[in-house]
Every structure is written in C-alpha cells, then in structure tokens.
C-alpha cells in the first residue's frame, strides 16, 4: 500500500484551480452554486470553454478527444469544478452515454455523436424508464418495428430528464416483444423527429427538469441503432453502471457541505451564529465524517476499476451518497429557518430573469427547491432498495 499522493497530482489541482479562477465567469458560478436546475445555455457555454482548453471529456481516452487522465485526476478536476460553482456538465453525454458509444458504436455513429458531446452541442436525454418499467426496467414496452431503412417507434417514456432541452435521446425499445432483456435495442433518437411529444412534469421543488415523452409512429433511421439489434440491454447496463460510478457525487456533496457551513456561519439565533449553537456543530461534523468515508470508498472504487476489478461499488456509493445529499439538505434547510420554508420560484432558462422572490439572504433561493428535488436522489439511477438487493447478491452471494 502507498497512501502518498503524487506531488504531480497536487500541481494538477493548482492548475485546474487557476484555470477556473481565470475562465469561470462569475454569473455562471453564481447560478451554478445555487440549487436550481442548471440553465442549458450556461452548460453549453461552460462545456465549450472546457473543450477549448482540451478538457472537454476528462473521463474519455485521448483517441476520442478525451484527456486520458487517471481516475484520480478526474476526481480532482470534478471536485475543483464543483467547489468553484461551475455548472454541471452534461452527465448524460460525457459519463453515461459517451463511453458506451465509443465502446459499442460503429465508426459512422461515433463520428456523428462524439464531437458534439465534446463541444457542448449534443446534450443527451435518457429514454429508459416507462410508466410500467421503473425498477423493472426490462419490462419496457416501447416498440420499434423495422420497415426498410427505418424503425417505426411507438410508446411512452417517463421521467426523461431534460427531454425538453436535449439534442438526442438514448432510447431503449423492444424489437422482439417475445423476449425480455434479449428483445431490447438501443436507438439514438433526435427529439425533433415528427411524432414525438414532450409533456413537462413539475417536481416538488416546483421546477421543471422531468418529462413524459410520447412516440407516435416515429421514424428512426436504422443507422441510429447502437451496436446490434436485441443487444440493447448490454449497452443499457453499461450506461447504468456509468451513471452509478459517479453517483456518490462526492464533489457535489462537498460543495453543499461548504454552502451549509457558510449559511450556518451567517444565520443567527438571538445574536449567536447558528454554527455556534450547542447541537449544531456536532451534526455538521457527522456529515463531514460520512463525506470523508464516502470519498475514500470512491477513491478505492476508482482505483480498483482502473485495475479491472468489476464489483458494483457503484451501488454502495449510490446508497450512501444519495442519503448524504439529503441529510446535508435537511440541515441546510434547518440552518436557514424561515428562509428554508419560503418559496423562491425557479428562475427558468433565462439567466436574467428576476422572479418575484420574497426577501432573504443571497444564499437562500434554490436551497428548498433543491432539497425537494433531492428526494429523488434515492430513487433515480435505480432506487436504493434495488441497489441494496444488488449489493446483497453480488458481494454477499445472497
């Protein structure tokens, strides 16, 4: 064992930090640090900035335009970006779908899809879940029938994050209704194709990121099939594993904990800072303990992954990481007291919108909306109950 950090990695951190200081515009950072869903225009702008620096895809190999960084460097990069308040980049394109595309797609599809992700021009939506196929994803029923050079798609997806703003949807369809997993195929679908209707779903933070997507005789070129027909389940599982690998969201949790400290240091109770109330600091410390444990489990998982060990550590990280983001939110709401209960309307996609907000400190808007949204952290990406079953099966042989 060798616990020493490479001094070169530390220098790398300084380099990233300096870059952020110079290139992350303050308005982006301000919006990125509050809890509302990121604005797509901000995400595009920021991805382009990263691309121009050669950092468009920290987790991709060099041959596809990635940085080729070690897992540790990617981790450092993500952490610095989060702490600086950089807008979340396209998790779908960069982490979930991109790696599956370069692993399984033919050259033509790779050439068509990968550059847009790097430049921030091709945002991905995940069209997996359906009303009757949530935890039991393989029960999906959206049907694709081949007619010549096209598939004709009919069906109904739900919980599709960003379907209203994305440029492409990774869609799971049934091409063989007789089979369950082995009848699933993976199509890359342009959401502007005729026959697609997107209906917004408002979440309990009164914000819009979720959608229902209806497919009515939608014609998709066969050239948009990823890999082979009826092999979609393999690709889907890879996407889900990619999703979970970062689902501990250590960088995000670090930013949120830092925000909580800031709030607790400014809010007051009869003159005393909230952080000085006798019961408060121990709870903050507990969150720090749990975050550190999660961080080092993440580091271990990343190292083992690069060594080719394939235990689903992602499930462990998903369970605890999602619980942690909820607990940090809980304490933040408490630290804010009444401002944690005020409704600050989501500003929406227009970065200059000034909604009619009630009074309160700068750090208040977005906290409650995010707290509400994060109830979903223990649900999305595979609910925690399902993760626990995966853990029991694959680690414990139960």
């Amino acid at each position: 064992m060798d616990f020493k950090l490479d001094p070169a990695d530390d220098a790398f951190r300084q380099e990233v930090r300096a870059f952020l200081q110079e290139h992350l515009p303050p308005d982006l950072a301000r919006r990125g640090a509050c809890g509302f869903h990121p604005i797509r225009a901000d995400q595009r702008r920021w991805q382009r900035t990263l691309f121009d620096r050669g950092w468009g895809a920290p987790n991709w190999p060099v041959e596809y335009g990635g940085t080729g960084w070690s897992h540790l460097r990617q981790f450092i990069f993500d952490e610095e970006c989060a702490l600086a308040g950089a807008p979340a980049t396209d998790n779908g394109g960069l982490r979930m779908f991109g790696p599956v595309i370069y692993a399984y797609a033919g050259d033509e599809l790779k050439a068509r899809l990968l550059p847009g992700i790097l430049k921030g021009e091709l945002y991905w939506g995940q069209g997996f879940s359906e009303p009757n196929a949530g935890s039991d994803l393989a029960a999906l029923a959206t049907r694709a029938v081949r007619e010549g050079d096209e598939y004709v798609v009919n069906g109904h997806k739900i919980w599709t994050t960003g379907a209203h703003t994305c440029d492409i949807i990774g869609l799971l369809v049934k091409t063989n209704p007789e089979a369950k997993q082995r009848g699933i195929s993976f199509l890359c679908v342009d959401p502007a194709t005729p026959g697609i209707t997107v209906r917004p779903i408002i979440d309990i933070g009164e914000a819009h990121s979720l959608n229902e997507v209806f497919f009515d005789n939608v014609r998709v070129p066969v050239s948009n099939l990823l890999g082979e027909e009826n092999k979609g389940w393999t690709y889907a599982k890879a996407v889900l594993e990619n999703e979970r690998a970062t689902s501990a969201e250590v960088p995000l949790n670090k930013r949120k904990l830092a925000q909580l400290r800031h709030i607790a240091g400014h809010e007051r109770s009869d003159g005393r800072r909230v952080i000085d109330l006798p019961g408060f600091a121990p709870r903050l410390a507990q969150l720090e303990v749990d975050l550190r444990a999660l961080e080092w489990l993440t580091l271990r998982a990343l190292t083992e992954k690069s060594e080719g060990v394939s235990l689903p550590y992602g499930s462990l990280l998903k369970v605890r990481g999602s619980e942690l983001v909820q607990r940090i939110g809980e304490l933040t709401i408490e630290a804010l007291e009444q401002y944690g209960s005020y409704l600050y309307a989501e500003p929406g996609e227009n970065p200059d919108a000034r909604p009619d907000w009630p009074s309160g400190p700068d750090y208040a808007p977005g906290v409650a909306a995010d707290f509400m949204y994060r109830r979903a952290a223990t649900i999305y990406g595979g609910a925690n109950e399902v993760q626990r079953t995966i853990i029991a099966r694959s680690f414990l042989g139960l």
Binding site: S129, N132, G134, S135, D136, A139, I158, W159, I201, I202, D203, I204, E206, L210, R268, S269, D270, G271, L277, P278, G279, F280, R283, Q326, E330, I333, E334, E337, Q338, G340, S341, Y342, L343, P358, S359, A368, F371, M372, Y373, R375, A376, T378, I379, Y380, A383, N384, E385, R388, T389
Partner: protein
C-alpha cells in the same frame, strides 16, 4: 387515564373529516389553487360549524372545549393538508389573546368565533428560532401612555389575511428577558405598518411585517405592560400541541396513501407490497406514527403542569414528532418511486408540510437543546 373521545368530540371529528374530504381535498386544491391560501366563504363555514369556537370558553363566545378539540381539528386538517389559516388565527392568535387580556378576549373572541375578526400573532422574529422571549421589536414611550413601535416580524401565520395583529414588543429588558415584553393589538391598516405576503413551500401563506413608527395608545394594550410573556407562552403551548396534532394527521394520511400505492403498483410481475423490504419500512412508519400520537397525548396531559415540566413535555413532543414526521413522509415518497417527487401527486405535499413544520416553533434540534439544558441543570435523580 382514558384515551377515549367524548361523543361530542367524536362528532366534531367525524363532521370535520367529512367536510374536509368533500370540500378541501388536496386534489381539489391542486387543481384550483386559491391565491393567498384563503377562501372567505370557506372560512365562514368553519365559523358556522363551530370550529373557530370549539376550543374557546363560553364567556368568549366559544363552545367550552379546550386543547383536545383544537388537536382533533388540526389532525383532520393535517390529513387533507388544509392551507386555510386556521392554526395561525384560530389557535395561536386566539389562545394568546385569551390569555393576554380577559376583558378584550370577551369582547373580541366572539367576533373571531363568528368568522368576523381575523387577528394574527405578529411575534416571531428573524432570530427567534423557538425562543419565545426573543423580542427585539421596540415600544418606546411617546407620552400620555402612548408608544411608538419599531421592528420586524416574520412568519406571521395567516398574516396575509389578518385584519388585526397581536404584536409583541419590548417595553423593557433585552432580547433574552421574559419580563418587559408587552402585547398590543393593532389594526392591519395602521399607518407605518407594512406587510409583505410570502407563500411557503407547503402552499400556506404567511407575512413579514415591518413596523416603522407605528403609534399605539393605552387602549391598544393587551394585558399589563411588560407582562406579555405569560400569554405568549400560553398561546405557544397550545399552538405547539395543535401543530403536532396536525403533524400526526399528516403522517397518518401519508402512511395510508403509501400503503394503498404499494398494494396497486406492480413491478416484476407482482404488487410492491409483496416485497418484505417495503413491508418493514412501512412497519417502521407505523411505529413512528404511533409514538408521535402518544407524544401529543402526553403533551396535553402535561399542559396544566408547572412551567418547567410543561415546557419539557412540549419539547419532548416537538422533537419526537418532527423526527418521526420527516421519517414517515420521506419514506412515503421513497416507496412511491418517481411519482412521489411530482407536484401533481399527493405524497410529496405531505413531505413539504413536515419540512415547514420543522422550522415552526423551534426545530427538533432546538427542543433537544432545551432538554439537554434541563439534563445538565437538574441533580441526578429519578424524574417522574
């Protein structure tokens, strides 16, 4: 001990349940939200049905009931997540007024019972966080028994539709003193009083109030100068119990909604209720609910005890109910999966209500701290 309701109380509960399910269901409200969370016609019905009078004495126009009646009603309100300002006006303000000034109570509470007067308690301030004596709003003598009020009040529940405000202000002492707090009853239109209405995440409404050189006279006094704390404590104690009773209603309904959902939602070819992991979670939810209900009973039992014992009991209750409520409603969402985090479905609204509850009248944390102080202050001896 007898945990049974009287026939009258049983009737009150039944009629409230029937009315609220028919007229005030969450589904109706989500489809037709009422601006300001207030429907004047419905408020009159509350009055007609005797709800505003249920927990007030007869010489004040009430029906002679007490906290039990308020708790019963609030539990029903919790079940349907009523947003009308019953708690702020009909419990907190009414009970504070009752304790503050017997003569004014006999004069004004009959109007409140009839739905004709809507006072709200403007007491909470930015840094209160559960501390009743935290009052920094100043009342400065202006000669001839008049005062000038300066200060800011927040979370004035029902304040957006109030016609009067019961304002707490300092006539002596500093923000931590129980002595020196004076209560005034002032008109909502008084010159110098500014109101900003705020919607809370659970869709109830509240107001922030700025008092900028508001002139009051001796006629506006409630009770004795400097003696307001006792009435505030009286009103807060009843308000806290009513709030916790509401939370029990919130939890109970959230639990049954979840149970029903598990019985109908199918995944993997079976209904979700067949998964033991989910059955066990629901069992935990029921345990938390029943512990909370017991805590509300206990708080009512301790209401007539001496101050220290009463306050300890209230803290125990608020802490426990807050923790349980969060658990029950959070897992209510969890067991629903994605549908649980949507605005158009019910269960998330129960969670929102409990989130706001935590920041009302002191968080669980605050009340644990109060109890911790008692632990340290008392000699090591068996407590009853």
């Amino acid at each position: 001990m007898d945990f049974h309701l009287t026939d009258e109380q049983e009737m009150l509960r039944e009629s409230a349940r029937r009315f609220l399910e028919k007229e005030c269901s969450l589904e109706q409200r989500l489809h037709a939200p009422v601006e300001g969370g207030f429907d004047a016609a419905r408020w009159s019905r509350f009055a007609d049905m005797g709800w505003l009078a249920a927990s007030l004495p007869e010489d004040c126009g009430g029906l002679g009931g007490d906290i039990v009646e308020a708790a019963l009603l609030m539990e029903e309100f919790g079940r349907t997540l009523v947003v009308d300002p019953f708690w702020g006006i009909g419990v907190l303000a009414a009970q504070t007024l009752l304790a503050a000034d017997a003569e004014k109570a006999r004069e004004l509470l009959p109007l409140l019972c009839a739905g004709e007067l809507r006072p709200a308690l403007a007491h909470h301030e930015l840094q209160s966080r559960g501390v009743i004596e935290h009052v920094t709003t100043q009342a400065r003598p202006a000669g001839d028994g008049a005062w000038t009020l300066h200060g800011e009040k927040t979370l004035v529940m029902g304040g957006n539709v109030a016609d009067r405000f019961i304002v707490s202000a300092r006539t002596a002492g500093d923000s931590r003193d129980r002595d020196g707090i004076t209560l005034f009853l002032i008109d909502a239109n008084a010159p110098g009083l500014q109101r900003r209405d705020v919607r809370l995440i659970d869709n109830r409404w509240t107001a922030e109030i700025t008092l900028d050189r508001v002139q009051v006279t001796a006629a506006d006094l409630l009770g004795e100068v400097g003696q307001g704390w006792t009435a505030l404590e009286y009103g807060h104690a009843r308000g806290l119990i009513a709030l916790c009773a509401e939370a029990v209603g919130v939890m109970e309904r959230a639990m049954w909604i979840t149970r029903d959902y598990l019985r109908t939602r199918k995944q993997f070819g079976v209904t979700l209720n067949t998964f033991q992991a989910l059955q066990h979670r629901m069992a935990e939810m029921l345990i938390e609910l029943e512990l909370s209900r017991s805590m509300v009973y206990r708080a009512m039992a301790y209401l007539a005890r001496p101050l220290a014992a009463r306050q300890a009991a209230l803290s125990v209750t608020k802490a426990r109910v807050g923790q349980s409520g969060r658990f029950v409603c959070a897992h209510g969402i969890q067991l629903h999966g994605g549908i649980g985090v949507t605005e158009e479905y019910s269960i998330g609204h129960y969670f929102k209500r409990m989130t706001v509850f935590e920041n009302e009248l002191g968080s669980a944390q605050f009340h644990l701290e109060q109890l911790a102080l008692c632990e340290c202050a008392e000699p090591v001896a068996a407590r009853p």
